[in-house]
Symmetry: C2
Subunit: 356 residues, 2 copies
């Protein structure tokens, strides 16, 4: 038997009101099962919205962990290490790293006993940082660049939130594929530094929100692009920013919205003439739905990203690690919940609970 703890919720509401710690014990894995230990649990904004109840995807609540009320474990992203494998498991051995196959596994817990097909093995050459974050941001960036339009070498992509984790990965993957990129970023005091940083990652051009909104700036972009095409625009900010990105698209271009970082303007405005005569297409991307619809696609995409990491072509997104020591928690009580609430409440960039 293995002692384990999870951050669970049975009702939706503010994280500090509804999250609580649940302790349970797990039997040894049978047949196709694996017992896995959490190594890192990154926290994403969607995880918090899921607890609050405003996120469209909700994990099933049940009493499988022995909670009094039907409950769900928080979290969707995580890196795990295999502790024990059932007798029929062929593709895992003790010590292997793995990540969830589909969203909703519930990663805010110390251990999981699950079917070995609920997790995907990762190659051993990955660093802990690469492995811990491979399942969300790099997957999103890669699929955004490959699932909507065929981008050939020399084509252009334009994106807002160029300084976000996904934005930087889009820039790097575009460079690997020989695709030019324009990143739109917020103006700031240290803009020159940011431009240098993004250019070093592979951004062909970096522009500000003001330049994105300024219609007269189009001439500069046209000069950069020349006879090539701006085939793809990626939006994770606001409707207003997306509508401005659309104006940069060449005939037949796609704008794909994948996030809501700035909720000041939720509507994307595109003119009928742009749709009919420029054949613009506007659509959305949601990793959760994409993976649920096609789990194999996740595995194939991970393979590609692992190759990039193996060759040193792409830098994984940085994140802040907050240490959580399960052994001390056992002695002192509720530090798991306290640590998690601290991570959830800290908005200064991507964070993760590092289990020890």
């Amino acid at each position: 038997m293995t002692s384990a703890k999870a951050i669970v919720y049975s009702e939706h509401g503010q994280v500090s009101d509804v999250l609580h710690t649940h302790s349970y014990t797990l039997a040894d894995p049978q047949s196709n099962e694996v017992l896995i230990l959490t190594v890192v649990a990154p926290v994403n904004p969607a995880d918090i919205l899921q607890v609050i109840g405003t996120y469209p995807a909700r994990p099933e609540k049940n009493t499988k962990l022995g909670t009094a009320k039907p409950s769900a474990v928080g979290g969707n992203e995580g890196l795990f290490k295999v502790l024990k494998v059932g007798s029929a498991v062929k593709h895992f051995k003790t010590g292997d790293w793995c990540i969830p196959r589909v969203p909703g596994l519930g990663t805010w817990r110390s251990h999981i006993l699950c079917d070995s097909h609920d997790v995907i093995p990762l190659p051993s050459f990955l660093s802990l940082d690469q492995a811990a974050t491979i399942g969300v941001n790099p997957l999103t960036a890669y699929q955004l660049l490959t699932q909507f339009v065929y981008l050939k070498k020399g084509d252009w992509v334009i994106q807002n939130a160029g300084n976000s984790a996904v934005g930087k990965l889009v820039t790097q993957i575009a460079r690997v594929k020989g695709i030019n990129s324009i990143s739109v970023v917020r103006n700031r005091d240290n803009l020159t530094e940011l431009v240098e940083e993004l250019t070093a990652l592979g951004a062909t051009k970096v522009i500000t929100d003001e330049q994105n909104y300024d219609e007269s700036f189009q001439a500069t972009i046209s000069e950069w692009v020349g006879d090539s095409k701006v085939r793809l625009a990626l939006n994770c900010v606001s409707g207003k920013s997306a509508s401005a990105l659309v104006k940069k698209l060449s005939k037949g271009g796609f704008v794909v919205t994948y996030g809501l970082m700035d909720q000041s303007d939720l509507n994307i405005n595109i003119s009928i003439t742009d749709y009919v005569f420029k054949q613009i297409t506007s659509t959305g991307y949601w990793l959760t739905a994409n993976i649920a619809a096609n789990p194999q696609l996740k595995i194939d995409t991970l393979d590609e990203i692992c190759k990039y990491y193996e060759k040193g072509l792409v830098v994984s997104p940085p994140f802040k690690k907050v240490l959580y020591k399960l052994a001390e928690d056992d002695a002192k009580g509720s530090t798991f919940l306290e640590t998690m609430l601290r991570v959830v409440g800290d908005k200064s960039g991507k964070q993760a609970l590092l289990f020890e």
Copy 2:
């Protein structure tokens, strides 16, 4: 030598200012050429915008017909009868009907000498009305229903301008394919009659613009649709109407804009959450670009529509015929231009010049 006349323009501007008649003679067809006689030249709104110069597709202007200035012949839709064929032409004989293969042929003329591959033969079982209008409205309706989402039996499509030529064809083709349709129409005194007419053509439901805009009406639509899906919305009216159609779409649905009948609101507004979480896609359809990109698709689509006509499954769009007698024009002078200007100026529905 054959005497011929065409309505040409060398500059863009108001039709009454820039259109004029040009008389010319044509040699007998050589090798792969055909000499064809215009039977019907329907006039579409796009033809007029093309003369004015505000339409994005412009035919090439040249002096091939012996005009003093480089000129284009007006019109894009037409039904022709083969008068003479060149020695190498195998797929046409005198008396066959044909229509232009691609837009921009210039159909406002009495005769054309062209490559035999510039026109597509039509089967002889078509009526004159079916043949004269097959190349634009039925093609549009069929491609709108088949090129964006796969509609299976029992799926739903919703469209505005349900009373337009394309709208009625969408309704009929949907019925043939076992697809349910909702047509949005303007409220009017004789609404009951119109509902009866559209229902007889195959509309599953007919609603008014007000019901389309009314959010509380959604419950009624949900009841109609039940467990099926509204996979496709077709818009040719305004941005506001399109945005309301989007609200009726099921997850993963497409809204396709193909026209600008009401220019009061040119922007289609779709929320980021509809894009991301409902995976809505918004795009445009333009027959001209579609055919230019894939002429074979036009032939394949025409084959399907001909089958519908042969089996009596679909009624062709009605249009008003305005007679033009070339022989009398030769005697009296400029009646060709006068007749064409009368047709162009009459906004009471689809019109066509019938040549005799």
